[in-house]
Subunit: 189 residues, 2 copies
DNA sequence: AGCAACTCAAACACTGGTGTTCAATTTACG
DNA sequence: CGTAAATTGAACACCAGTGTTTGAGTTGCT
């Protein structure tokens, strides 16, 4: 299987993108649904991915890989609070879109695999928070991991509120930033 | 069907409790599993609940009803921050235990029904936050609903961290309280 | 004691998913 | 152009769940 033929490569790309789309809507999306979205026969999917779990794995990896370049453009220098606000602004929708996909992955992949796939993007955030702590902009009476988790948690909450129609798309990033910055501030702010 | 016989009542109680337990572990728990936990035949379950959805509904209602008295004991008067801390202390584990059950309910019940079942306990928290805002203890530049949601979100995050072994059971309530109080504080604290 | 209510295992039909095989057709590529 | 690769729907076996029926056995109630 030295090199795939061009139509095979096209199929694989379509299936991968379809898997990301379908699983982002419904973490339990069946192989049939994914095939339909990809505009491809179900058998073709099994021709390229041995089983559903491997397909989900590939889809998650694909989504993360796609997200990387966009996030690399964010300026994380300067005032940590402002940097965090910029990061939130450009990543919270992305994090949300991946959420359903992540659930799909958690249902079929071992936790260690999930952790591996997320290592790179998670590290970026951790670094920024670390720097904020070092420079006295963020509190140090709580572990870095906890603060990062709270950030994620609040972003997901905003996504939920948006989905439920209780929050306008334009407000969300501001709400998240204002909330998290307060939560991250040193005590005698 | 005026009055159930004693053994029927016993069965129903066992099934209800088993449903709460099983669904709190796995939101996809099958009727068979629930029956097994209840120490009862699967057919007996169908004898008392027409289908799985109705059973999940009853289980959620049961769990909420059980939780009520314990939470009614919490003193919500005095300094809003302190009151919130007390409420967190005595309710965050409870909220977590219900989370998986809530997911089960969301999978089979209409959103309106979920909202109905949660109305009473949710109101208690909303009231406290409202009072905190009125008294100047909590910020008013964000909607009450948002603040309440952030509280929930951070509690769930703590539960996740606990499950993942990254947080000690004793620390959790403190982490939540310290984080949320900071997030709730008026800007020029 | 006797009857109705209850319990339960076994068997059934049904649904919806996974993963495989096959034979026919289309398509890329040298 | 010819061949090997790729795609396809149809059919298949399999599994796990839901919900029902049956018939025999047990248990509460009066």
């Amino acid at each position: 299987m030295a090199v795939k033929r061009a139509d095979a490569q096209r199929s694989i790309a379509a299936i991968l993108q379809a898997a990301v789309d379908a699983l982002s809507r419904d973490p339990d999306a069946s192989v049939s649904e994914i095939a339909k979205v990809a505009g491809v026969g179900r058998v073709t999917v099994y021709g390229h991915f041995p089983n559903r779990a491997d397909l989900v794995d590939a889809a998650l990896a694909h989504a993360i890989e796609q997200a990387h370049p966009g996030l690399d453009d964010v300026d994380l220098t300067g005032d940590p609070g402002a940097a965090l606000t910029r990061l939130i602004e450009s990543s919270w929708q992305l994090v949300d879109r991946s959420r359903s996909l992540l659930i799909a992955a958690q249902n079929v992949l071992p936790p260690s695999r999930i952790l591996d796939l997320h290592a790179a993007p998670a590290e970026r955030v951790r670094k920024l928070v670390e720097r904020g702590r070092d420079e006295g902009a963020f509190r140090t009476d709580l572990p870095t991991e906890w603060l990062v988790g709270v950030l994620h948690s609040v972003m997901h909450h905003a996504a939920d509120e948006l989905n439920a129609g209780r929050l306008e798309s334009g407000q969300a990033a501001g709400y998240i930033a204002v909330t998290v910055l307060a939560a991250f501030s040193p005590i005698s702010g």
